[in-house]
């Protein structure tokens, strides 16, 4: 590797805690651009890395997937967002050849998942919500084993192992058994294991569930670095913030179906409703309502000391609001423009909040 390339601690990280970034990629390139033909409704899927149509999976009497369809353009990041039990993990398991659906079709990298699972396995990487590593082996042994099982040349496996150990900052711990690793290290090793054969399509099933906030940020940077050079990523998450920050497009999954799909901004604007919220002294509430009425798309509402008014036009309206209140002589305690969060998106789409719960009990189903 040339100087300056590779995962390295970022200077100035807090309290000697290293954070990692892929240093030879500008972090502005974190989001890969979606392929031009990223249409989800078109009949041609030539540029699509993943196409799933009408997937149905029953676990006994529980229908986990209920006709789920999904298209992921090549070199993009698709976030599957939904609460536990929505069918995110089941979708990944079908696409990663672990589970045979009761009905439906799926193509990954143009290969039929049901007809040629071994060919699919050659081009995918899977990193699950439970770190799939052997705890009694060292990091080096884990990576080496995966490389051998991919039937790769021994020289390549050795070189790739060292490369991944260094990239994921596991070199120092490479000869310790994984049992001694922290949660973040296990996830990094798990992700490294899924990258041994340089997959073109990567499935990340809740890659940061259970990680502390610092490890989560580290994982985000790692994932962003991967995406920057053209790997297609299908990411499942229950963290709205995570989908917003990593994904080019988000598919909202609920009860085994995709109920909405689009860019994070699309989804937010679909819910609509930017609002300006102002907090003022109680005595000023009436004057505030009067001052803001001309700006709103609907009459302002007041609750305690907070006045809220729906608007369109973003930042410009915020400036107008401040001017209007200033000319009325109303002291502003707090004012902000509130754009809808993905949590709002979820609420308006499903009628219930996206609840983050403990991971569900492992499920049964037909496997290969």
């Amino acid at each position: 590797m040339p100087p300056g390339a590779g995962w390295r601690p970022l200077a100035g990280s807090a309290a000697g805690v290293p954070t990692f970034a892929y240093a030879d990629q500008s972090m502005t390139a974190m989001r890969a651009q979606p392929a031009p033909s990223g249409s989800t409704s078109g009949s041609t899927h030539e540029a699509a890395a993943i196409v799933a149509e009408g997937l149905i999976v029953d676990y006994g009497r529980v229908r986990a997937l209920d006709g789920l369809s999904l298209t992921v353009p090549t070199a993009s990041v698709m976030g599957l967002l939904g609460p536990n039990g929505a069918g995110k993990t089941t979708t990944v398991r079908v696409l990663a050849t672990l589970l045979v659906p009761n009905a439906g079709t799926a193509r990954v990298a143009g290969i039929d998942v049901l007809a040629a699972p071994d060919a699919v396995r050659r081009v995918i990487g899977l990193s699950g919500q439970y770190a799939a590593i052997d705890e009694d082996l060292t990091a080096r042994e884990n990576l080496h084993m995966v490389g051998r099982l991919f039937h790769l040349r021994a020289g390549y496996v050795r070189a790739r192992t060292e490369e991944l150990l260094e990239r994921f900052d596991l070199t120092d711990a490479a000869d310790r058994t994984a049992r001694t690793y922290s949660g973040g290290m296990r996830r990094r090793l798990d992700l490294a294991s899924s990258l041994v054969a340089k997959p073109t399509i990567l499935f990340l099933d809740e890659p940061t569930t259970g990680l502390d906030p610092r490890s989560r940020l580290t994982m985000w940077e790692v994932i962003a670095g991967l995406v920057a050079d053209g790997t297609t990523v299908l990411l499942t998450t229950q963290y709205l913030e995570e989908a917003d920050s990593l994904a080019d497009r988000i598919a909202v999954v609920d009860q085994g179906r995709v109920i909405a799909e689009g860019t994070p901004d699309d989804l937010k604007s679909r819910v609509g409703g930017e609002r300006i919220e102002v907090r003022v002294a109680g005595a000023d509430v009436a004057r505030t309502v009067t001052a803001l009425t001309p700006l709103g798309t609907a009459p302002p509402t007041a609750e305690d000391e907070t006045v809220s008014v729906p608007v369109t036009g973003g930042g410009a309206v915020l400036v107008e609001a401040i001017r209007a209140l200033d000319s009325e002589g109303v002291p502003i305690a707090e004012i902000h423009l509130r754009r809808p969060t993905l949590d709002d998106v979820f609420l308006s789409l499903t009628g219930h909040r996206a609840e983050v719960e403990t991971p569900p009990a492992p499920t049964r189903g037909r496997r290969r």
């Binding site: 672990l98 052997d134 084993m145 991919f150 790769l152 070189a159 050079d229």
Partner: protein
């Protein structure tokens, strides 16, 4: 990591992953299906052997138990059990303990495999383009290595209490090979049980329970001559009896079993080999199919 660590290596612009990977495109080796089935099984067998060394306690206690059996049976029952046709009970006993111990290793296979299946690691294996049989082959071969170590330690214990190899090295080697082959066959039954039960805890019990009648309703510890006739018939045809009798013949130990007239009593080695082949023919395909269909627990 220091910056110096990064200042080495070469650039390969074509590589994926960050665009600066020193390794080129992964090159897949082409060989026959059978070659890879063997290769993948071996990779996982090596993994399981490495794991034995990482958890030495499992091996140590797995060895202490048969040593304890040898000593308890030899000293507690030794005086009370007479061998028809004469001979030392201690010499008689050792082959029986060998077979019992190697059979109980089949339970370890159930537990180990059930543990393998309950962890996320099996999803990794399933997502790799590797042979579907590899997890099972690796498990059984790894357990075979563990069984061999146990047998070696038991042999030393046997020698200490008066057991001897009386008929030469070659026949003794054949005896050990037959013993390990029988153990390997039983570990495939263990595989099937390990895949069929719902949790590792169940595997702890289910993996063991069938082994008690299998090993005790036999000539392993007492001559079958003393049993009621119907029980004696069962014991005579028990695969364990055939293997134990084969070992006693090959080691040159007292073997009153050979006095009988039934097929296993007259041709114990041939019958033992048939049992081994039969078990493998039934339980390898059964287990591989079970592995393909069973869900993660």
């Amino acid at each position: 990591m220091s910056a110096a660590t990064h200042a080495t290596g070469s650039t390969d612009a074509g590589a994926r992953f960050g665009g600066a990977a020193p390794t080129g495109a992964p090159e897949v080796l082409l060989r026959s299906r059978a070659y890879w089935a063997f290769h993948d099984g071996l990779v996982l067998a090596v993994r399981n052997v490495v794991k034995i060394s990482r958890i030495p306690g499992l091996l140590v206690f797995g060895i202490i138990q048969p040593i304890m059996f040898i000593l308890l049976f030899a000293f507690v029952f030794g005086g009370a059990i007479a061998i028809p046709g004469g001979g030392s009970y201690r010499e008689y006993l050792v082959a029986g303990i060998f077979v019992q111990t190697i059979a109980f290793a089949g339970a370890a296979t159930s537990v180990g495999l059930s543990e393998d299946m309950s962890k996320g690691l099996v999803d990794r294996f399933r997502s790799l383009p590797m042979a579907r049989s590899a997890v099972l082959v690796g498990r059984t071969l790894g357990d075979l290595v563990r069984g061999s170590i146990t047998v070696a330690v038991m042999s030393l214990t046997g020698l200490l209490i008066g057991w001897r190899i009386n008929d030469g090295v070659l026949r003794a080697v054949l005896a050990y090979l037959l013993l390990l082959a029988f153990g390997y066959a039983l570990s495939w039954i263990g595989c099937y049980i390990g895949l069929s039960v719902s949790s590792t805890e169940v595997a702890q019990t289910a993996g063991f329970i069938w082994l008690f009648p299998l090993t005790f309703l036999s000539n392993a510890f007492v001559p079958t001559q003393g049993m009621p006739p119907w029980l004696q018939t069962i014991a005579d045809w028990n695969p364990v009896s055939a293997v134990v009798a084969s070992l006693r013949t090959l080691f040159g130990n007292p073997n009153p079993f050979a006095d009988g007239s039934s097929l296993p009593q007259q041709y114990p080695i041939a019958v033992a080999l048939c049992w081994i082949a039969l078990i493998l023919l039934i339980f390898i395909p059964l287990s591989v199919r079970k592995y393909r269909t069973v869900a993660r627990r």
